[in-house]
C-alpha cells in the first residue's frame, strides 16, 4: 500500500451536534432526543407582519440555500383563471419598481394602456364569428404599439442578472397544486443581497412583459400536451376529482392561460402573498442573529394581510370506479389512484409504510411481481400523496412490450387483495422503517434539501419538527394498521383508473 499526503481535516466544529443527532437516528431510538440536538442549530422567528423564518446553521462550506414557500398553488384557483398561480410564479422574475426598469412611472402608464387594450380585444373576440375583424386587427396593432412603448423602459432580465452575477446556483421556482416555491443558493457573503431582492420582490413586484411571458407559458403547456404521460395524467386527474380543484392541471387550461390578464395576476398576488402566507428557510453558513437583524431591516415593512381562506370544497365519496382510456399513438401506460386523506391526517404514516412496502425498491411487492416474476411491466411507481387536502395514492405501471395494461391491472389488484387478507411480514415493516430513517439522514446532507423539507413541514403540518416526528410515527405503524387502511381505502369503488390505449395514426401504422 502506498500512502500519499494527509492533511487538514474539514472543519466540523458546529457540526458535532448534527453528527450526534443522526448517529442516534441511525439506531432504533426515540427521536425526541435527536430533535433536541438538532434544535440547537435551529432558530425560528416570526416578524410582526406574520412572516415566518426558519434558520439552520450548517457550516460545511461558505454557501447558503434559501427557500420561500408560498402557501398558494393551483388548488386556490377557480374555473376561468386556471394556471394563474403558475403564471404569477413566472411573473415574479420580472422585477420590481426599481429592478428591471429605467423609468417606472412611464412604464406603468404604458402597461396600463396595454391592459386596457387587451380587455377590449378580449371583449371583441368573445363575439366569435360576429367579431369585427378589421377592428380586431386595429386593436391588435394598438396593442403592439403599447407593448413597444412599455419595452422602451425595460431592463431585460435584470433580476436574473443580479443573482447570476452574484454566483447563484439553482435559481428557480416551481408551482404545484398546493404551493409556489422560490429557491436559490448563494455564496454566504451574499445574504444581504437575497434579503434586499426578495423583500422587494414580495413587496413591490411589477408584472412587466406579462403578455410575452404568457406566450412562454403557452409553450410550456404545449410541452405537456406533447408528452403522452402528461396527456394521460391530465385526463386522469380530471375524472378523479369532480368537486375539489385538484382536478385542474397546475399549468392551467390553454384557453384560460390565453385570456389571463395582468390585473387578475396582481389581484391574485395581493390575496395570496401576504407575509403570513409565506414561510422562509435559510440553511447554510449563516449566523441566526445576523439573519434576524437583516430580516427585520428588509422584510418588516411589508404590510401584513389576512391568511387566505382554505379551500372549502370537499371531494364527495366516489359511488363507483372511474375510468378513462385515452387513445394515443404512444405505447400503453397505466395509472391507478385511490382517494386518501391529506398529509396531516394521523393515518398518513400508514400510507407512507404501504408505499414503501408495495412500491419502493427491487424487493417491493409490485416490482417483484410485475417486473421480476411475471415480467409484464418494465417499471412501476408508487406515489404516496403528500398534499394539504385529501388526495390520491397513485400506482403506475409501464407494461412490457407485448403485454397490456389489463394484465398489469390484474396483478396490482391481486397484490392489493393479498394485503387485505394477509398481514405484511415483520421484515417488510422493518425495512420500510429503516429506509425512512436512512432517507431522512441522506436528506440532511444538503442545504437545499433541508431548506425545502423544513418549509414543507412548517407550512403544511404546522411544525418543522415533524420532519423528525415522522420517524416516530412510522415507527408505530403496525401490520394491522396497514390491513385496516388497505381495506378502507384500496377498494374498487374508491379508485380511478387511467389508461393509454395505443391507436396508430395513419402514417405511423
Amino acid at each position: 500500500m502506498m500512502w500519499k499526503m494527509r492533511e487538514a481535516r474539514v472543519l466540523i466544529i458546529g457540526l458535532m451536534s448534527l453528527f450526534s443527532v443522526v448517529g442516534v437516528l441511525a439506531t432504533r431510538c426515540a427521536t425526541a432526543q435527536d430533535l433536541a440536538e438538532f434544535e440547537k442549530r435551529m432558530t425560528k422567528f416570526t416578524l410582526d407582519n406574520g412572516l415566518n423564518f426558519l434558520v439552520l446553521k450548517r457550516h460545511e462550506a461558505p454557501v447558503v440555500s434559501f427557500h420561500i414557500y408560498a402557501d398558494v398553488g393551483s388548488v386556490d384557483e377557480v374555473k376561468g383563471i386556471t394556471g394563474l398561480a403558475h403564471l404569477f410564479e413566472h411573473m415574479a422574475f420580472k422585477g420590481t419598481r426599481t429592478v428591471g426598469t429605467k423609468k417606472y412611472k412611464a412604464e406603468a402608464k404604458a402597461m396600463a394602456k396595454m391592459d386596457q387594450l387587451f380587455e377590449v380585444i378580449k371583449e371583441e373576440k368573445r363575439k366569435g364569428g360576429q367579431a369585427d375583424k378589421e377592428k380586431l386587427q386595429q386593436l391588435q396593432e394598438h396593442f403592439e404599439k403599447a407593448q413597444q412603448e412599455a419595452q422602451k423602459y425595460i431592463v431585460h432580465d435584470e433580476y436574473e442578472e443580479v443573482y447570476t452575477r452574484a454566483g447563484s446556483t439553482g435559481f428557480n421556482a416551481y408551482t404545484s397544486e398546493d404551493a409556489t416555491q422560490y429557491i436559490v443558493s448563494l455564496p454566504s457573503n451574499k445574504v444581504e443581497l437575497w434579503m434586499l431582492l426578495e423583500s422587494d420582490r414580495f413587496a413591490n413586484p411589477v408584472l412587466r412583459e406579462f403578455y410575452k411571458e404568457r406566450d412562454v407559458v403557452t409553450e410550456e403547456r404545449r410541452l405537456g400536451e406533447n408528452s403522452p404521460h402528461r396527456r394521460l395524467y391530465e385526463e386522469f386527474q380530471a375524472i378523479a376529482f369532480k368537486a375539489h380543484p385538484y382536478s385542474e392541471p397546475v399549468i392551467g387550461h390553454m384557453s384560460d392561460i390565453r385570456t389571463l390578464t395582468r390585473p387578475e395576476a396582481e389581484a391574485f398576488f395581493k390575496k395570496y402573498y401576504a407575509p403570513s402566507n409565506l414561510t422562509v428557510a435559510i440553511v447554510g453558513d449563516v449566523e441566526p442573529q445576523k439573519i434576524r437583524g437583516l430580516a427585520e431591516k428588509y422584510f418588516s415593512h411589508i404590510k401584513s394581510g389576512p391568511k387566505p381562506e382554505r379551500v372549502e370544497t370537499v371531494e364527495p365519496p366516489q359511488l363507483g370506479e372511474r375510468r378513462v382510456i385515452i387513445e394515443d399513438p404512444s405505447q400503453p401506460r397505466l395509472l391507478i389512484g385511490y382517494h386518501r386523506p391529506s398529509v396531516t391526517h394521523p393515518d398518513h404514516a400508514i400510507f407512507e409504510a404501504i408505499a414503501e412496502i408495495i412500491g419502493v425498491g427491487r424487493t417491493s411487492r409490485l416490482y417483484k411481481s410485475l417486473v421480476k416474476d411475471k415480467r409484464i411491466a418494465v417499471s412501476t411507481y408508487t406515489y404516496r400523496g403528500r398534499e394539504k387536502y385529501p388526495t390520491l395514492f397513485i400506482i403506475s405501471a409501464v407494461p412490457a412490450k407485448g403485454h397490456t395494461s389489463q394484465e398489469c391491472e390484474d396483478v396490482i389488484y391481486a397484490e392489493i387483495e393479498r394485503l387485505k387478507t394477509e398481514l405484511v411480514l415483520p421484515e417488510e415493516l422493518d425495512k420500510a422503517k429503516k429506509r425512512t430513517r436512512a432517507s431522512l439522514i441522506r436528506q440532511l446532507a444538503s442545504n437545499r434539501g433541508l431548506a425545502s423539507q423544513l418549509t414543507f413541514y412548517e407550512a403544511v403540518t404546522g411544525n418543522w419538527r415533524n420532519l423528525f416526528n415522522q420517524l416516530d410515527m412510522i415507527e408505530h405503524v403496525t401490520a394491522e394498521d396497514i390491513q385496516r387502511i388497505v381495506k378502507e381505502y384500496f377498494t374498487r369503488k374508491n379508485r380511478t383508473v387511467g389508461l393509454i390505449e395505443t391507436v396508430l395514426t395513419e402514417n405511423e401504422s
Binding site: M1, E160, T164, P187, E192, E209, D215, N226, P329
Partner: protein
C-alpha cells in the same frame, strides 16, 4: 492532489468589489442592490483527497466526511459501449445492468436485493459510452455487509440467464417506446446526423442487436475490462482513512491484477455541411428543433474562451438565446445553445428549442441569427463581465460536497487531465477577453454549415422547411427483428 486555495479566495474578494460602472442599471434609477458591500467570503476548506494504490493495482481516492453517519463509494472502470461490436449494440449496457441483477458466485441477484434493502443501502452498476460505473451507499453501521456485496458484484458476477433475459425484455420495450416522446426522437436523430448513424457515439439498439446478445457475450465483456488495475474507487464519508483503505484492500484481496488491452477509441470524422432534416410526428403541436455541428474537446486551449462564450450564447437565464427567444419574443419555454466539449472525443455544438408549429421557421431563423452574431462581432463588456463573474462567484459551489470533489478528481485522472484542471479553468476564464470570445467563435462555430432538424408537423409550420435548403425526410419507423 491539492487544489490551490489562495487564488480562489482572491478571486472571490476581487469580484465582491467589482465596480459598479459595468452594471446596466447604474442609471439615475439605480436599484439599491448596487450599493451593497459584500464581506470577504469565508475560506473554503478544500479537503485533501488521499490517493492510495493497492497491491492489485486498484487506485483509491479517499476523503473523510464526518458530518453524517454515511459512507459512499463510487468506482470508475475503463470500459464503455464504444467497445461493443456493431452487431451487438446494447451489450455494454446489459453487461452493466446484469452485473448487479444477475447475482454472484455466492448470492443470487434477488438475495442481493433483499440484503441491501434490509439495511437501506444501495449497490448499482452500469456501463456508459466511455466508462463503467459502480456505486455503493450505506449507513456507517452496515458498512461491512454492503462492502462485501459491492466487492462481490464487481469481482464475481455470474450473469444469471434469467436476468439477462429480463434486461433484454427491458431493452425491447424501450425500443418499442422510443418514438413516444418527441424530445427523445430529436436528440437521438440529431446525434446520428452529427456522428453518423453507425458511429459508436450515436448508434442505438435495435431488436436485431438485442437478439444477438447472449449470456456468454456478457461474461466475455466483463472479463475483458473488469480487473482491479483497470478500476478507480472513490470513497467518502464517516470513516478513518487508514482503516478504510485496509478494509477495502481486504475486500478486494482475491482480485488479481491482469493484462488489460483497451481497444483503440473510435475515430470521429466530420465534414462541415448544411443540411435540413424533417421528421414527421403527427401527435404534437410544437416543432422540436435542434441544429448544429461537431463540437470539441476540453484539452483544446480554446476551451476556456468557449466556456465564456457558452454562457453568453445560451447556457444560462441571462444568455442571448434565453433573452431573445424566450423573454422578448415568447417563442419557447426552453431554449439552449451550447458548444459541448468532451474529455476524450469531440462533443457537439447544438442550438435548439421547442416552439409552436406556427413559429417553427421563424424560431430557426432567429436562433441562426444569434449564432451568426457570435461570429460577427465582439460581445459587450457587460456580457463578458457577467459571464466571468457568474462563473467565478459560483466557483465555491464546486467544493460544497465531498462526493463532488472526489468524483471530479477521479474523472480527471480517468481521462488523463491534470488534477488541478478545475483551477486551470478558473485561472484561464479570468483571462478571457472579448477578442478571445470572438476569435474562438469564428474558429469553432460555422453558422452556415449547421445541420438543422425539426420534428413535428411541417404542414403547420409558418413556412416550408425548404426555404432553409433542400429538405431530407428521416424515417423513424422501428425495424422489426431480423428474420
Amino acid at each position: 492532489m491539492k487544489i490551490k486555495k489562495t487564488c480562489l479566495i482572491t478571486a472571490i474578494v476581487l469580484l465582491a468589489l467589482w465596480p459598479c460602472f459595468i452594471l446596466p442599471s447604474c442609471s439615475p434609477q439605480a436599484a439599491q442592490y448596487t450599493k451593497l458591500k459584500y464581506t470577504r467570503l469565508g475560506d473554503i476548506e478544500i479537503p485533501d483527497v488521499e490517493k492510495v494504490t493497492l497491491a492489485n493495482g486498484m487506485l483509491l481516492f479517499l476523503v473523510e466526511d464526518h458530518e453524517l453517519p454515511l459512507i459512499t463509494m463510487s468506482a470508475m472502470i475503463r470500459t464503455g459501449s464504444i467497445y461493443e461490436p456493431t452487431e451487438k449494440v446494447g451489450l455494454a449496457d446489459i453487461t452493466g445492468t446484469v452485473m448487479r441483477t444477475g447475482g454472484t458466485t455466492s448470492r443470487t441477484g434477488d438475495e442481493i436485493d433483499e440484503q441491501l434493502e434490509q439495511i437501506a443501502a444501495s449497490v448499482e452498476t452500469g456501463i456508459g459510452l466511455n466508462s463503467g460505473r459502480a456505486s455503493m451507499s450505506v449507513l456507517k453501521e452496515d458498512l461491512d455487509t454492503a462492502l462485501d456485496i459491492f466487492a462481490d458484484v464487481l469481482m464475481n458476477p455470474v450473469f444469471a440467464e434469467e436476468k439477462v433475459e429480463l434486461a433484454k425484455i427491458q431493452h425491447r420495450s424501450a425500443i418499442a417506446r422510443r418514438n413516444d416522446h418527441p424530445s427523445s426522437i430529436t436528440w437521438r436523430e440529431f446525434w446520428k446526423l452529427i456522428y453518423g448513424p453507425e458511429s459508436p457515439y450515436a448508434r442505438h439498439t435495435e431488436y436485431a442487436t438485442i437478439d444477438k446478445i447472449a449470456r456468454n457475450d456478457l461474461i466475455k465483456f466483463h472479463k475483458k475490462f473488469f480487473h482491479p488495475n483497470n478500476v478507480m474507487l472513490g470513497i467518502w464519508g464517516d470513516f478513518d482513512t487508514r482503516e478504510m483503505a485496509e478494509k477495502i484492500e481486504e475486500a478486494f484481496e482475491d482480485w488479481q491484477k491482469a493484462d488489460v488491452q483497451l481497444p483503440e477509441k473510435p475515430e470521429v470524422e466530420y465534414h462541415f455541411r448544411q443540411t435540413v432534416n424533417v421528421i414527421h410526428k403527427d401527435d404534437i403541436n410544437q416543432a422540436y428543433i435542434c441544429m448544429g455541428h461537431i463540437g470539441g474537446m476540453m484539452n483544446d486551449p480554446d476551451y476556456f474562451a468557449l466556456v465564456v462564450m457558452n454562457r453568453i450564447l445560451g447556457g444560462s437565464f441571462t444568455s442571448r438565446l434565453f433573452k431573445n427567444i424566450r423573454s422578448r419574443q415568447g417563442l419557447a419555454y426552453s431554449v439552449y445553445g451550447y458548444y459541448d466539449a468532451e474529455y476524450d472525443y469531440p462533443g457537439v455544438f447544438y442550438v435548439g428549442c421547442q416552439t409552436k408549429s406556427e413559429s417553427a421557421v421563424h424560431a430557426i431563423r432567429a436562433m441562426i441569427r444569434e449564432v451568426q452574431m457570435m461570429t460577427e462581432s465582439e460581445v459587450t463588456d457587460e456580457e463578458l463581465a457577467l459571464a466571468k463573474e457568474s462563473f467565478l462567484n459560483s466557483f465555491v459551489f464546486s467544493f460544497d460536497s465531498k462526493g463532488e470533489i472526489v468524483r471530479r478528481l477521479m474523472t480527471y485522472e480517468y481521462f488523463g487531465y491534470p488534477a488541478d484542471f478545475l483551477q486551470k479553468i478558473k485561472d484561464n476564464v479570468e483571462k478571457v477577453t472579448k477578442d478571445d470570445v470572438l476569435r474562438v467563435a469564428r474558429k469553432h462555430i460555422q453558422p452556415d454549415a449547421m445541420q438543422i432538424l425539426a420534428v413535428g408537423r411541417p404542414d403547420d409550420f409558418d413556412e416550408p422547411m425548404s426555404v432553409l435548403g433542400p429538405v431530407r425526410g428521416i424515417d423513424i419507423i422501428i425495424p422489426g427483428p431480423e428474420e
